[in-house]
């Protein structure tokens, strides 16, 4: 009898393990597409839309077929698009460096023939893209890496060089380091400031805006921030575009008093180094026991899971590693502290980031985002699904997994580390 029971228990444990196993599904990219993926979305009809840093928008109605599927280059020639939102098969919005753009395929040939400027009141790396319940577009901007590239004879936006002071990132152009709202008619409204590079932007099921900000100057570790209008979240370079700006903040104590805290801090290294879009599990249990929790893909091949609770109008919570690449933690630890930059190097990462500098304190060179060779049909990005979920189900979790993965990386099956 005890033997029978132990067999039963073993079978039960095996079945539990199988039930709790997650699979990573490879989606080979089409030949000819540079695999520097910078944004992923699905159309309401279920087509997969992928944008890349060289400025292309690709679309396939059958992602399960991978590279052999019906991929179509929908648009090209955009300036570093980092966010995408697809309203239909022939109407796609992208955030690119100079503007929010509406791409339209009017003649139905699968290729955009019209690139419409919705708003261009700023010029910087621009992330997003989400739409609130009123139809407004929500996006966020980074701070410039360098100030010298702006041509003062032809500034893109109102330029305030006289306001540039001691910050490492001077934000000389309008609304750099802000979360922004653009109405369907193209009117820009600033929401909140203090971001270094809020490269992930998401909406909770209740329609609340969250962003992830990136570790660096003034931002001690990456964060998940509940964004509320008028608030300031830490990086002072963006303050000059507030109406109440009265000059540089003179002390860290003053700055700390001005700053609203994040909902959750993501410890640098242990929970990544460069988080992307926060995605809520709204699958009703299809993706495991995490309904209502948040998943965040990270540049360091990590997906975090975040539990949030709202207390007296403010959010707090806890973060856990959900899935980590086999070399992820080692790579992060190996590179953290080398030169205050965290990059996905390590043995495996070097295959994909050939120009990553060595650990020995070499300054980060322009070119760390170069792609190593011309893409092939083998170039893939991963999407994640719970075992048993239909492959063609375009659940939000797929976006979480694919958001910032840039190149060939996925094994055919990996187990949940959570």
């Amino acid at each position: 009898m005890p033997r029978f029971l132990s067999i039963l228990l073993a079978l039960f444990a095996v079945s539990l393990r199988a039930d709790n196993t997650y699979e990573i599904e490879e989606i080979p990219l089409p030949e000819g597409m540079v695999p520097e993926i910078s944004g992923v979305a699905f159309t309401p009809q279920g087509s997969l839309v992928v944008v890349n840093r060289p400025g292309e928008v690709w679309l396939t109605s059958d992602p399960a077929k991978g590279a052999k599927g019906p991929w179509q280059r929908f648009a090209f020639g955009l300036h570093e698009p980092l966010g995408v939102l697809a309203l239909s098969e022939n109407e796609i919005y992208v955030t690119q460096r100079p503007e929010l753009t509406r791409l339209l395929d009017n003649d139905g040939d699968g290729v955009a023939d019209r690139y419409e400027t919705v708003n261009d009141d700023w010029h910087e790396f621009t992330f997003g893209l989400r739409r609130d319940r009123e139809g407004n577009f929500l996006l966020s901007t980074g701070l410039p890496d360098v100030a010298g590239s702006i041509n003062p004879l032809h500034p893109r936006v109102p330029l305030s060089e006289e306001k540039v002071h001691r910050e490492a990132k001077p934000s000389p152009g309008l609304y750099e380091g802000w979360a922004l709202k653009v109405s369907p008619q193209g009117r820009l409204t600033p929401i909140a400031s203090g971001f270094r590079a809020a490269s992930g932007l998401g909406l909770s099921p209740e329609g609340e805006l969250f962003v992830t900000d990136q570790q660096g100057d003034y931002i001690a570790t990456s964060t998940l921030v509940y964004v509320q209008p008028g608030r300031f979240y830490g990086h002072p370079a963006s303050l000059k575009w507030r109406e109440d700006y009265a000059g540089p903040v003179e002390s860290l104590e003053t700055l700390a008093a001005m700053r609203s805290p994040e909902a959750v801090a993501l410890p640098h290294g242990a929970l990544g180094g460069s988080p992307g879009e926060p995605i809520w599990d709204t699958t009703g249990g299809k993706f495991g026991p995490f309904e209502g929790q948040v998943f965040i893909g990270d540049f360091t091949k990590l997906i975090s899971r975040v539990f949030l609770e709202k207390v007296a109008g403010e959010y707090q919570g806890a973060a856990f590693p959900f899935l980590r690449d086999a070399v992820g933690l080692e790579a992060i630890q190996a590179n953290s502290g080398a030169n205050s930059l965290t990059i996905p190097a390590g043995k495996d990462g070097l295959k994909h980031f050939r120009d990553v500098p060595p650990r020995s304190g070499t300054p980060l060179r322009p070119g760390n985002m170069r792609w190593p060779s011309r893409p092939t049909a083998a170039s893939t990005w991963g999407r994640r699904r719970a075992a048993g979920e239909r492959v063609t189900d375009s659940s939000a979790s797929c976006e979480a997994a694919g958001r910032r993965w840039k190149s060939k990386r996925c094994g055919s099956r990996r187990r949940d580390s959570a």
Partner: protein, 216 residues
């Protein structure tokens, strides 16, 4: 010596261009890339109308910037996180005087509505592809204006077709003399040297053709 250097560069450049980029086929043209371009504001447009004719369209200047015979090398801006500017590539006919371009404007917002002396409020609105052409759209003082760009029949020169709105008053275009290009204007009247006036709701055609280079 300078002349020989120029000739040498002009001879070698097509081979360098062939090694460094994507030439495309006839069917790929025209094509537009938003990027960093030299002598322009950030996020100008690199426009390749045909394989032999390219230009910079700069919303901050208010229209067409430099024009050259050749194409665009995007690799400096695509290969780096902290970008360099994309670069013209092609024939360098006028290297000794102008560099790569045969048309080099210096004016900002040379197109105005109503008052030729007042710089208009300019808002860029986007662009669209039409057969053999690119149509840029913008507003001046809130009035919609379109500018269609196409190559001439020989693929050497640029044809600009401007369409002006009703209700905005007459349009004025200041046309600069060029060292290396001939500029012809149709559809209006030259009201003073270099300043052309067009009727409200009218159209203008501007043809810009490279001058034949003098024999070395």
């Amino acid at each position: 010596m300078k002349r020989y250097r120029t000739l040498l560069l002009a001879t070698l450049l097509p081979f360098v261009a062939a090694l460094s980029g994507d030439a495309g086929t006839e069917a790929d043209y025209p094509r537009v890339f938003r990027t960093f371009m030299p002598n322009s504001g950030p996020s100008a447009f690199a426009v390749e109308l045909v394989p032999s004719l390219a230009l910079c369209y700069d919303p901050l200047r208010g229209g067409v910037g430099e024009i050259w015979t050749g194409s665009v090398d995007l690799s400096p801006t695509l290969r780096a996180k902290i970008n360099g500017t994309a670069m013209p590539r092609g024939e360098i006919i006028y290297l000794a005087t102008l560099g790569h371009a045969f048309y080099v404007p210096t004016l900002v917002h040379p197109l105005r509505l109503g008052d030729p002396a007042a710089e208009p409020e300019y808002r860029f609105k986007g662009y669209r592809y039409e057969a053999g052409a690119i149509v840029f759209e913008f507003t001046l003082r809130g009035h919609p204006v379109s500018e269609t760009l196409r190559a001439d029949e020989e693929g050497r020169g640029l044809v600009r077709e401007l369409a002006f709105p009703e209700g905005g008053g007459p349009a004025f275009l200041r046309v600069e003399k060029q060292v290396a290009a001939e500029v012809h204007v149709e559809g209006g009247a030259e009201v003073e040297p270099g300043l052309w006036r067009f009727p409200e709701g009218g159209k203008a055609t501007v043809r810009i053709l490279p001058k034949t280079p003098a024999a070395p």
